[in-house]
Amino acid sequence: MSTPTYKQVWKENLNMNNPVLVQVLGICSTLAVTNKVVNTLIMTVGVSLVTAFASYTLSWIRHLIARRVRMIFQVLAITFYVVLLQLILNAFAPEVARSLGPYVGLIITNCIVMGRTETFAPANPPLISWWDGFTSGLGYMLVLGTMSLIREPLAFGTIADIPIFPPEYVSSGNNWTIAIMAPSAFFLVAIIIWVFKTRALKVEAAAKAPKPATAGGTK
């Protein structure tokens, strides 16, 4: 397998092979941390960096690890970066760290990190693996950002704690508290997947259909 280019990786991870929408990985945190824009932003940056550096490290030592014991190395490398992230968050953003609760630690078992270090990093050189991990994180950020931008205004009338709806929206009690509760998270991610997949199916159908016509016409 030849090494993919940076541009290919970027396109794959953000669009056609989006870790959340297509591979359906990392759903747990997708649902849990998207109730506030700020939390989501910090969480997704954290996941991007952890995935990137874990991929980098594991790709760097990929020739030294026997295939049978690679799982434990992956887990330890990921844990190392997550602990770093947790310490940094505790030091500089203790409030966010508290409201994210166990979900920062749970980046260890975030399937996106596991998935990238298992599939991409062992087969590719370090730098492109770093890029792959980072763009996977960005793909994840894209989906989570969208979700938090829908959920926070509906529930609190704010985006990143800046009010965007008139104060009556919340004080009148007509705000959609359901938007930050569990069910809405499930529905919202399902709807995003639905929209995305319908579009992907259309692109696929369009790519298939005109082929015979152009092949005959251009030459």
């Binding site: 359906v24 759903i27 649902l31 166990p102 749970l106 399902a190 997949k197």
Partner: protein, 196 residues
């Protein structure tokens, strides 16, 4: 934190703060495995066992090793190793004691290491300051809650397979919507008990 009696905690962790539907933990393997009832049941039972064991083992390590030696920042390392070790040990024991059970349960065990429900429960145990008994009960209740949710979802997916679902929504999409409805049903319990 006020002391929560074990029975309340058990029911709270099964119903009102269901680990899957209220805390979203273990969703990945949930979506992957809930296709058929047999494997859902197998994985669910495996999760219950691993949850009880790993919270029972992590608690003493946290309170007798990490806290006294002021090494609390290493907690994630310790927990992930405990979970992996429990799963590995369980796999070996089951293989020895009951090959039949191993055949039906064995393939699900490695999946559990990457199931965030396990690590999540252990981290909740630390954050909420449970005592040993509470930790074990919380592990048990969360496990039962997860098992209940996955078996119910598998049963529902069986029916959905026969329904005409829009092409873009097939697979994970409709599963997530099903889970949304289940979560709504479980939200109905939330007025009864409130345990943080």
């Amino acid at each position: 934190m006020s002391y929560v009696d074990p029975i309340t905690l058990l029911f709270a962790s099964i119903f009102t703060s269901n680990i899957l539907l209220a805390n979203f933990l273990g969703t990945c393997s949930f979506i992957a495995i809930s296709k058929d009832i047999g494997s859902a049941n197998g994985l669910g039972i495996a999760v219950i066992v691993v949850l009880v064991l790993s919270s029972a083992i992590s608690w003493p390590i946290l309170h007798y090793v990490l806290v006294p030696f002021n090494m609390i920042y290493l907690d994630l390392f310790v927990y992930i190793i405990v979970v992996a070790a429990v799963v590995q040990a369980l796999e070996m024991i089951i293989e020895r004691v009951s090959p039949a059970l191993y055949m039906s349960l064995g393939i699900y065990l490695p999946l559990i290491v990457a199931n965030c429900a396990i690590l999540g429960v252990v981290l909740f145990m630390e954050i909420r300051n449970y005592d040993f008994f509470q930790a074990v009960i919380f592990g048990l209740g969360s496990g039962i809650g997860w098992w209940l949710a996955i078996v119910a979802a598998a049963a529902m997916r069986k029916k959905i397979d026969k329904s005409p679902v829009p092409a873009g929504l097939q697979g994970p999409g409709i599963t997530l919507i099903t889970m949304g409805f289940m979560a709504m049903a479980f939200v109905g319990f939330s007025g009864i008990l409130r345990v943080q």
